[in-house]
């Protein structure tokens, strides 16, 4: 008899989705209720995961589903991220006229998909999770269907994502063909021989995954989709699916492919370097903040991949720390974006920030802290994120990767500084509205304080993450 306690979170969230759908059908004008309920349900899911936090890895359903510290930790990140995204975007949705019952339900669906992805220990389970997540995301990207750009971004995302899923599936089939199993552990044991077919399979799978986390050269969809989607969805794109895809990346590299490290390490290093440099350079010319976030997220993914490429537990932990700090920074940044609103119209270009510091000193200060942190300037949290990554990279004597990475932070610093310049050095414009929801203010305050005061208690997060060991 399987102990279902450990997968109670997944069961609970599935039941919640169905319940919310029925509720939405039978009760008119229930968008607000469903929105709030979803936040609550997500938090309960988080508590369920926390309650059943495993101290060793457990597998279910014929070894195809795994619960370990990595999966539980990452699930908590996704669930909390999802809840925060929902709670701070409520007002934005209302103003943009897309405050519908489907929105929170789709987010719940994609989170369920991510949870399945994170816990998968089998190619088929992984693929089911991935598709559930992606399908919900396609719809979310085009959620503001009256706007041309939103529909376009949804379609673009769908077409390109379908292509990458195809590559991924092809890779899976090659792996299956050569290792005679879809189970990660069995594949891991079978992959001791280096056969060309296996190498091709790994490459195809890595390409598919690189697409999902928008690593260069598979990043083309990101800027358009980020710009076109409603801002709240962009926030979701920039944070939560990245966590899930990173977990899958870790799982793939270190469970089934662990014996093929010579084959995939150069690929990951290349992806990492290309993403860091491209993300830094391409962002310089951007004027739209959402587009800029897209390029900056490409750069940040480069750093996380650098942590993955070193093949040590410290590297993986550094990547997890990086992605969690990155999530906090993005939440803060988007809270600022939600506050750039005048007469029910949102602004999203850099010029709109001109002279913000004169009229909104506190908001600009938060902006300043978040941007410097994204640029990785000490003593802010973003510095420590990079610090841990490079610590593990240099441990393996990968100096080239470290120096390229750090020099690209200098290039990246340039465009973050450019925004700060506009906020602080330029002439002021009209005031923005100040009637923000409490949730938005609280989330901005908390994320800013976390980033600013991280250096006082830097060991806490390391302690939490150090339980994650996979090699």
């Amino acid at each position: 008899m399987i102990n279902l306690n450990f997968i109670s979170a997944e069961i609970f969230i599935s039941v919640s989705i169905m319940f919310l759908l029925i509720l939405g059908v039978f009760k008119k004008n229930s968008s607000s209720l469903i929105h709030n309920l979803s936040i609550g349900l997500l938090l309960i899911t988080g508590i369920l995961i926390l309650n059943n936090y495993p101290d060793k890895s457990l597998t279910f359903f014929a070894n195809s589903y795994i619960i370990d510290t990595l999966s539980s930790l990452m699930k908590i990140f996704t669930v909390i991220g999802g809840a925060l995204v929902l709670s701070i975007s409520k007002k934005y949705l209302k103003i943009s006229n897309i405050f519908l019952i489907e929105y929170p339900i789709l987010i719940l669906c994609s989170i369920l998909g991510m949870m399945v992805m994170i816990s998968s220990n089998d190619l088929i389970v992984f693929y089911i999770g991935l598709e559930l997540q992606s399908l919900a995301l396609y719809v979310l990207a085009s959620f503001n269907r009256d706007q041309l750009k939103s529909s376009e971004s949804g379609l673009k995302y769908f077409v390109l994502s379908a292509l990458s899923s195809g590559l991924l599936l092809y890779g899976c089939s090659l792996i299956y063909g050569f290792s005679e199993s879809t189970n990660f552990n069995i594949i891991g044991n079978a992959l001791k021989s280096t056969h060309y077919g296996l190498t091709f399979g790994i490459v195809f799978i890595l390409v598919g995954l690189a697409f999902k986390i928008s690593a260069v050269p598979f990043h083309m969809w990101a800027p358009d989709v980020y710009e076109g989607s409603p801002t709240s969805v962009t926030l979701f794109f920039a944070t939560v699916p990245k966590v899930a895809a990173l977990t899958v990346f870790i799982r793939f590299l270190y469970v089934p492919f662990i014996n093929m490290i010579d084959q995939w390490q150069p690929i990951i290093i290349f992806l990492s370097i290309a993403s860091m440099i491209f993300g830094a350079i391409a962002a310089i010319g951007q004027n739209n903040l959402k587009r800029l976030v897209a390029y900056s997220s490409i750069g940040h993914i480069g750093y996380t991949l650098a942590g993955l490429s070193v093949a040590t537990n410290e590297g993986i932990q550094a990547s997890i720390i990086y992605i969690s700090i990155y999530m906090v920074m993005n939440l803060g940044l988007f809270s600022c974006l939600f506050m750039m609103k005048r007469n029910d119209q949102f602004f999203e270009t850099i010029e709109d920030l001109s002279g913000l510091s004169k009229n909104h000193p506190i908001l600009s200060l938060s902006f300043l802290v978040i941007l410097f942190s994204l640029a990785g300037i000490p003593p802010l949290a973003g510095f420590f994120a990079k610090f841990y990554i490079f610590k593990s990279v240099i441990e393996q004597s990968m100096y080239f990767l470290a120096i390229v990475g750090l020099l690209s932070t200098v290039i990246a610093a340039f465009y973050y500084l450019k925004i700060i310049k506009v906020i602080y050095f330029d002439k002021e414009k009209e005031k923005y509205d100040t009637d923000h929801s409490t949730w938005l203010k609280v989330s901005l305050a908390i994320s800013t304080l976390l980033i600013l005061l991280y250096f006082i208690f830097p060991s806490k997060i390391v302690e939490i993450v150090s339980s994650v060991t996979i090699i």
Partner: protein, 497 residues
């Protein structure tokens, strides 16, 4: 003894800044008094620290050691004879900067004071951190307030200058970060005291030295990495220039002594010719460029480059006189360049021009100003009886001991220094009063008098009686050189084997 005096020195200005952050904007005078009060208390604490300091030993004192990044980096601070002087210099200059904002900063005074106070915290942190990571943290964090000081309150080309300052320094520093992490993996610690005892493996030293050099050379600034400095100085508001010239540049000199000499003796010995050549070029080239400047602030900025050339030259002679001279030169330059920038600020506030040809003949309208300006001009060119003389003299003495030719060329720099400073003074102060607008300007007001005199007194005092400085640093410098030579001998024996 157990009272964390260094941490409180670091924290106090930040607490003052927090207090200002949450106060109301209405009365800017209150903000100024709060800032002044905090920084003055900090000054008193640092003087008390100097009084408690025991100069008869070179080991680190007032050490605080707390677990910070677990199992990796400890928050460790402490001071020896070298760092205490820079801490006192920092706490001495900051209140003067705060007084000087009276006339220079017109907008957002409260925010300016917050930036200055945070800057003070970070600078003190740089000088007393005893762990490479902690040092890096303070060293880099200083970029944020300085970037804002130049960018928000600067002159017309402020954006360009602020960016240049930030990016130049950042490029240098990231390489240092790579080196710091590498040291952790090579030696297993980033604690400076332990690293001093361990002595790093010879095969890594050269690269590590270069990585540290890249950061310090930009910050010093050494030729050819100096181009950010004139821009930053010219565009920064007076108080910003003062902080930059008086303290920020000293971080690099301090870093050379503490890290390059202390951690990588073999590499330092190897690269000494490089430093000599760059320093000589800096001294001569910057002096010649200074001669041709039309802008007063730019002229003083280039003179800073030349003076810092003497400092790096002195440090790498590895002689008692050379290093002591460099430290005294840094302290003296901290006082004198601060005073010169303030002097420029005084006339700039009245005429809103930094061009030399705007002025001429102001001795007849501003006699008191002219006296003080002359004092600092003479101190800058190293006239005996001023602190500038002691520093340059000791540096040259050390250089003569080590390499005759280098010393002769460096002495030429002293002559050039006299030329550009005196010429500047002549063109601004003497001559016919051509510009009629000058007739209307008033002489020094009380606060300006107070600032300039409080800088003039130590300049003169140290010029006649440098004993307090030399007393404080003597033992530390001696032991540093001993350790350096000891390590060098050990390595050469290893090579022989």
């Amino acid at each position: 003894m157990n009272f964390p005096i260094l941490s409180s020195l670091i924290l106090l200005p930040t607490i003052g800044a927090l207090f200002l952050l949450f106060s109301k904007d209405k009365n800017s005078n209150t903000a100024k008094y709060v800032a002044l009060f905090t920084s003055f208390i900090n000054f008193l604490i640092s003087i008390y620290l100097w009084y408690l300091f025991d100069p008869s030993t070179s080991s680190f004192q007032f050490i605080e050691d707390r677990i910070w990044l677990e199992g990796f980096v400890n928050y460790k601070v402490g001071i020896d004879g070298i760092s205490i002087l820079f801490i006192v210099l920092t706490t001495f200059i900051t209140p003067l900067c705060i007084i000087s904002v009276n006339n220079t900063v017109k907008v957002r005074l409260r925010h300016f004071l917050i930036a200055i106070l945070i800057m003070e915290s970070l600078m003190i942190g740089v000088f007393c951190s005893l762990d490479l990571v902690v040092f890096y943290l303070f060293f880099e964090a200083g970029l944020i307030p300085m970037f804002l000081i130049i960018g928000i309150w600067g002159g017309t080309r402020r954006v360009y200058s602020a960016f240049k300052f930030f990016l130049y320094t950042l490029v240098g520093s990231v390489l240092m970060l790579v080196a710091i992490i590498s040291i952790y993996w090579i030696a297993g610690t980033t604690d400076i005291i332990q690293l001093y005892e361990l002595s790093l493996d010879i095969k890594y030293q050269n690269l590590l030295w270069l990585a540290f050099f890249s950061s310090f050379a930009v910050k010093t600034p050494m030729w050819p990495f100096h181009t950010w400095l004139p821009d930053a100085h010219v565009e920064a508001p007076t108080a910003g220039s003062v902080l930059l010239a008086a303290i920020l540049l000293k971080m690099a000199g301090y870093g050379f002594i503490r890290f390059s000499l202390g951690l990588f003796p073999v590499a330092s010995e190897l690269f000494t010719p490089l430093i000599y050549i760059l320093s000589l070029i800096a001294i001569l080239y910057a002096s010649l460029v200074a001669l041709m400047q039309e802008d007063m602030k730019k002229l003083i900025a280039y003179s800073s480059v030349a003076h810092m050339g003497f400092v790096t030259l002195g440090i790498f002679t590895i002689t008692q006189q050379g290093i002591e001279g460099s430290i005294i030169q840094m302290i003296s330059h901290g006082l004198v360049s601060a005073a010169l920038f303030l002097c420029v600020g005084v006339v700039y506030d009245r005429m809103h021009s930094r061009l030399i040809n705007t002025y001429g003949g102001i001795v007849s309208v501003m006699p008191k100003y002219s006296i003080l300006f002359m004092l600092f001009t003479l101190a800058a060119l190293g006239l005996p009886g001023t602190s500038g003389f002691i520093g340059e003299f000791l540096v040259l003495m050390g250089a003569f001991k080590d390499n005759f030719l280098v010393a002769v060329i460096a002495s030429l720099g002293v002559i050039l220094g006299a030329a550009y400073m005196l010429w500047l003074y002549r063109r601004v102060v003497f001559g016919n009063l051509v510009n009629k607008d000058l007739l209307k300007i008033p002489d020094l007001d009380n606060s300006e008098k107070f600032i300039l005199w409080s800088l003039a007194i130590p300049v003169l005092f140290l010029g006649f009686y440098p004993e307090p400085l030399i007393n404080t640093i003597e033992v530390s410098v001696k032991d540093l050189i001993e350790m350096y030579n000891f390590n060098l001998n050990m390595y050469s024996q290893e090579v022989k084997k």
